[in-house]
Assembly symmetry: C2
């Protein structure tokens, strides 16, 4: 076991660092600070392995030692960051969970402008409009990672991708998927300024989703959880596809619909790319 | 507008009916009372249209009138149930949300024994093992409804399908999908006592999920959110299939994995059934 590097001890609830860390559970403060919290050794290890070193690492002084924690600490210190050791009670206030083994990191928010997206870097992209549930948002990031999507583009008023809930549901994909945020009025001209097929699940003027003529880079557009997509957004799509709906309901959970469609697009693009 | 039928007025927080209704947010009490809460006019209308009349209907006296509420009230009274009119504050305590337009119904829990499942009644069934998140559980019910599954079989220690969160996420599918609960030791002999193909997503000894030889009745087995399926459960499957995993992670959200697989099974069964 290597000796832990220098840790800063914080034992008071009123310490400004504690206040800062707690404030990152709140969207307004995340935006001000351009930083977000990620919790859990697995998530922090995913971050590290994809080159994301936290600015600050926080854990209880009573935490069991772990070689991955040692590695994280070294990286944080080497990058000029800080390692904070605190009490289980204060840690619980920061993470919102009473797990004395918890570990949390503070990361700089990524650039989420559309211009940071290189559409040619992946065959498909997920696009969500007014997606309100942070769990659904994180799940879409996770699905995007699995299907080899380039990232997730958030249109209009979506949940915050840097919320603790979204980061957790992403299971590390927050660090591997590109994320952009834009209004529809900004997204559509950007999309049309280059190659890109916009696809949505729809009941209007649609072809069966299975075997539809998908083309890369394919942008899969998923609508709001309760309202679905506005009609004019659907109309702007290059391809509208319909999925079987055998039951009483005529819709799926937004993250589920996106995933079923993404796997179909992935298969379709592979068939197109395969030598005949 | 028809005149509302007789309503019982309850204005005190300490009223036993209020205590009863609040207790239904708790699993132990739901089990004791064999009853559960469903909230929202849309969910209650779905229930009514599938022949499920609440034993009790609750709303604020200040609620706006609505023809669907009138219809629900008439059904409840005709079936010998009760309509409760209360204050917005008490209603908020019952529903857990401060929406004075809310409406909630109390329903009898369904029979969730395996023997109540008629496997021949549907070409596919969803099966979840140790599924802990009520949102995932409700989402699987919703997906089951969409793909024409017969229902959801809950193996070992799953979340409670009658929790408010699961009922809400099901978007009404709690009333259309059969639900059974069983231990694995009980489920496997039941499955083997008749026709049925058990299928799981797996990384071990698996064939590509796309175009795999699915056969009805097909039982799609999904494992716990963080642990996946125990190896012996996978080994007991008739078919192990693998889905592309292009990213860093080697797994999908459980409800997403179930849905992608369910849509593939649905398509596969249709191709098999189609005249050649």
């Amino acid at each position: 076991m290597s000796k832990p590097p220098e840790r800063r001890q914080i034992t008071g609830f009123s310490n400004p660092v504690v206040k800062y860390l707690r404030s990152l559970r709140d969207k307004k403060h995340r935006k001000q600070e351009r930083a977000f919290l990620a919790e859990g050794l697995r998530l922090l290890t995913d971050a590290r392995e994809t080159g994301h070193v936290p600015q600050m690492l926080v854990m209880a002084g009573t935490r069991d030692p772990h070689p991955l924690i040692d590695a994280l600490e070294r990286d944080v210190v080497a990058a000029g960051g800080e390692v904070i050791e605190t009490t289980p009670d204060i840690l619980a206030k920061i993470t919102g969970k009473s797990n004395p083994q918890a570990v949390a990191g503070v990361f700089e928010e990524f650039d989420t402008s559309l211009s940071a997206i290189d559409r040619a870097s992946a065959p498909l992209w997920l696009v969500a409009q007014d997606l309100r549930d942070p769990g659904n948002l994180g799940t879409m990031l996770r699905t995007g990672d699995a299907v080899g999507a380039g990232g997730l583009i958030l249109i209009d008023d979506c949940a915050d991708p840097f919320s603790v809930e979204a980061v957790r549901a992403s299971m590390g994909a927050i660090f591997t998927q590109r994320i952009a945020r834009a209004r529809w009025e900004e997204f559509l001209p950007w999309l049309r300024s280059g190659a890109g097929q916009l696809v949505a699940a729809s009941l209007r003027d649609a072809v069966p989703y299975r075997g539809a003529p998908y083309a890369a880079p394919c942008f899969i557009l998923v609508g709001n959880e309760s309202q679905g997509l506005p009609q004019e957004y659907e109309a702007a799509c290059d391809l509208r596809v319909t999925m079987p709906m055998r039951g009483r309901a005529d819709s799926l959970n937004a993250a589920v619909a996106g995933a079923v469609l993404a796997y179909e697009v992935l298969a379709g693009l592979q068939e197109t790319a395969a030598p005949t």
